[in-house]
């Protein structure tokens, strides 16, 4: 790679650019926190960041937290409450502006699987997965309740699937107005940000369409890494490269270099 940043760093910065100053935002462990706290360090100093543990007002110390309840976050919180408060009163209620979740598999409507890999359709009788993953955690609650949410995922055809093995967290379900018909509070995924580019939903069908490539990727590469017939926006953009300021802010947050490996 010739550019002075990694694909993961580009993904984190592109995700962070979606977070606006002053928003109420919920971040999960790992990539999600890196992108979120990057935004806070760079252009959204007044973002109201929280984790699902009900740890409020905290900024990580001593490296990326191992979990939403890690002492690296508990070290400078202004309020400790609980899960019903954070995920319920602030997220499922519809108050939270934006959340960031990850995915093992994602489909064309932005539905996410983080529960398990069965190697295809589970079939009419539920059975153990070939590989058990982490389950829903707070991601289902964030995907259901946040006004909008962002999906961060490595762009590989095994992840961008025609059909999920298991639907853990709702995107636009079957597309169209399926979320509204079901009465889900939140607005659904506003972007899928990958290691190769950015997909955004069609306003009517809610199918995700390639909106932008990164400076180092191409439409052909992204198509090849997407197992469904990916639609391409008629005016695909090229996402601006990370600025020196952005990279500096991201690397301050990612002090253990998780995104540079």
């Amino acid at each position: 790679m010739t550019q002075p940043y990694t694909r993961q760093e580009m993904m984190a910065i592109a995700t962070g650019r979606e977070i606006r100053d002053g928003e109420l935002a919920i971040f999960g462990v790992g990539l999600s926190m890196l992108a979120g706290f990057f935004a806070q360090a760079h252009h959204a100093p007044r973002v109201r960041a929280m984790t699902e543990g009900g740890v409020y007002g905290a900024t990580p110390v001593g490296g990326l937290p191992w979990g939403i309840e890690c002492n690296r976050l508990s070290a400078n919180a202004v309020s400790f409450t609980n899960a019903i408060d954070a995920l319920g009163c602030l997220v499922a209620s519809g108050r939270c502006d934006v959340g960031i979740i990850g995915a093992a598999q994602v489909d064309r409507f932005g539905n996410v699987n983080t529960t398990g890999i069965w190697g295809g359709d589970i079939g009419p009788v539920y059975r153990p997965p070939k590989t058990r993953l982490t389950g829903a955690g707070g991601a289902n609650d964030i995907a259901t309740g946040c006004k909008r949410f962002l999906i961060m995922v490595s762009h590989e055809s095994k992840r961008f699937v025609e059909r999920l093995d298991y639907l853990t967290s709702p995107g636009y379900l079957d597309g169209g107005d399926a979320r509204e018909r079901l009465g889900l509070v939140g607005g659904g995924p506003s972007a899928i940000i990958t290691t190769l580019g950015i997909l955004r939903p069609d306003p009517v069908t809610r199918e995700f369409v390639l909106d932008a490539c990164f400076p180092f990727s191409s439409v052909e590469e992204i198509r090849a890494q997407t197992a469904w017939e990916l639609k391409i926006s008629p005016n695909v953009q090229i996402v601006p490269e990370p600025t020196a300021d952005e990279l500096e802010a991201l690397r301050r947050v990612d002090e253990t270099g998780m995104l540079r490996r």
């Binding site: 462990v29 790992g30 699902e52 543990g53 009900g54 740890v55 110390v61 990326l64 937290p65 191992w66 979990g67 309840e69 890690c70 002492n71 690296r72 508990s74 070290a75 400790f80 409450t81 609980n82 899960a83 019903i84 995920l87 319920g88 997220v91 499922a92 539905n111 529960t115 589970i122 009788v125 539920y126 059975r127 153990p128 997965p129 070939k130 590989t131 058990r132 993953l133 982490t134 389950g135 829903a136 955690g137 707070g138 991601a139 289902n140 609650d141 259901t144 309740g145 298991y166 639907l167 853990t168 967290s169 709702p170 379900l173 399926a178 979320r179 079901l182 009465g183 889900l184 509070v185």
Partner: protein
């Protein structure tokens, strides 16, 4: 202190657990608070066929599942956050040894809250429309499942909405930072779902990193979110959540978190882990020796240590707290 509730860990497990029970642990956080040492004792006493109710997987559930003590589990999250997949639980789920019923991290405490309030159900504003609703490990024949989350008519709007079943576990072992001998407890860090769990469970045992005088609770009654009148017994056990973290008390033990999870990934590794950190352990002091006194000192100097400062003057010396345990077990 004639009415104190402090008993030994072994006695607590002997008196309050049985094979096939619904066993809940708190906080059931994957890298933070959990009554992990209670699970080690469940294994020492050979408890089997447990129905585990854990808000999230922890190293305790990972261990209990790897050791074959769990047949059913209900969780909102089944990993170890930054430490990756839970290899012991994963192995048990993949082999079919554990039926893992999936919910989300909000669904679990809502179900506990429903149990605490003795409600017939809780409106399901999350999980609906996904396979969390349509797939059930406890009822695998019925897919799409219509019983795990049932539907009910909202009597006000007339809309059809989802309904969660509620939880009232037979026992909750709840890790807390500080407990007094009567079972009043202060938790530092997120409560997660310990408030609801302490009201939902049929019996509550506290596992406390430190025992404090009751005057401490009288100084900070707003912070006593679990009052003693809910509590059956108190177990004094420093580093009870190790290798996970207890804010104010100790940081997570990163090396042991990884080594333990790796060990639980195989049967041989699990057997070796049980030999080193379960079967052989003889009481609190031996347990602390196994962790290593230097490691304990290092983990105790974390960035949250200052959180404990307001409470330190009421903490009972180690020997006094152990004496209470011996006295309680004999009573």
């Amino acid at each position: 202190m004639s009415h104190h509730k402090v008993i030994s860990l072994a006695e607590a497990v002997r008196r309050h657990t049985w094979d096939g029970m619904q066993y809940a642990s708190g906080a059931a956080l994957p890298v933070g608070s959990d009554a992990i040492v209670f699970g080690r004792e469940l294994l020492r006493q050979g408890r089997r066929d447990l129905h585990a109710i854990f808000h999230c997987n922890t190293q305790q559930l990972n261990l209990l599942a790897a050791a074959g003590a769990v047949s059913r589990a209900e969780c909102g999250f089944s990993g170890l956050e930054g430490f990756g997949f839970a290899k012991g639980l994963g192995r048990a789920v993949q082999s079919g040894a554990v039926a893992l019923e999936d919910y989300s991290n909000l669904a679990m405490p809502l179900r506990l809250l429903g149990g605490a309030l003795n409600w017939p159900f809780v409106p399901a504003t999350v999980n609906v429309g996904t396979d969390l609703e349509f797939r059930s490990a406890f009822d695998p024949e019925h897919s799409p499942n219509r019983d795990k989350i049932r539907t009910v008519t909202d009597p006000f709007s007339g809309r059809t909405i989802g309904a969660f079943s509620t939880l009232q576990p037979d026992l909750a072992a709840i890790h807390v930072t500080l407990a007094d001998p009567e079972g009043n407890a202060i938790m530092l860090g997120t409560e997660w779902s310990r408030f609801e769990l302490s009201r939902a469970a049929k019996r509550v045992i506290l596992i406390a990193d430190a025992i404090v005088e009751t005057d401490c609770m009288r100084q900070f009654p707003n912070l006593v979110r679990i009052p003693g009148l809910l509590v059956e017994a108190v177990v004094y056990w420093p580093f009870a959540a190790w290798p996970q973290a207890s804010p104010g008390m100790y940081d997570g033990d990163e090396a042991h978190m990884k080594a333990m999870n790796d060990a639980l990934g195989s049967e041989a590794g699990t057997a070796a882990y049980l030999a080193d950190y379960v079967d052989g352990i003889d009481g609190v002091d031996d347990y602390l020796d196994r962790i290593g006194r230097e490691r304990i000192a290092a983990l105790s100097r974390g960035p949250t240590s200052f959180l404990l400062d307001p409470y330190r003057r009421w903490i009972l010396p180690h020997a006094d707290a152990l004496a209470l345990s011996r006295e309680g077990a004999a009573a």
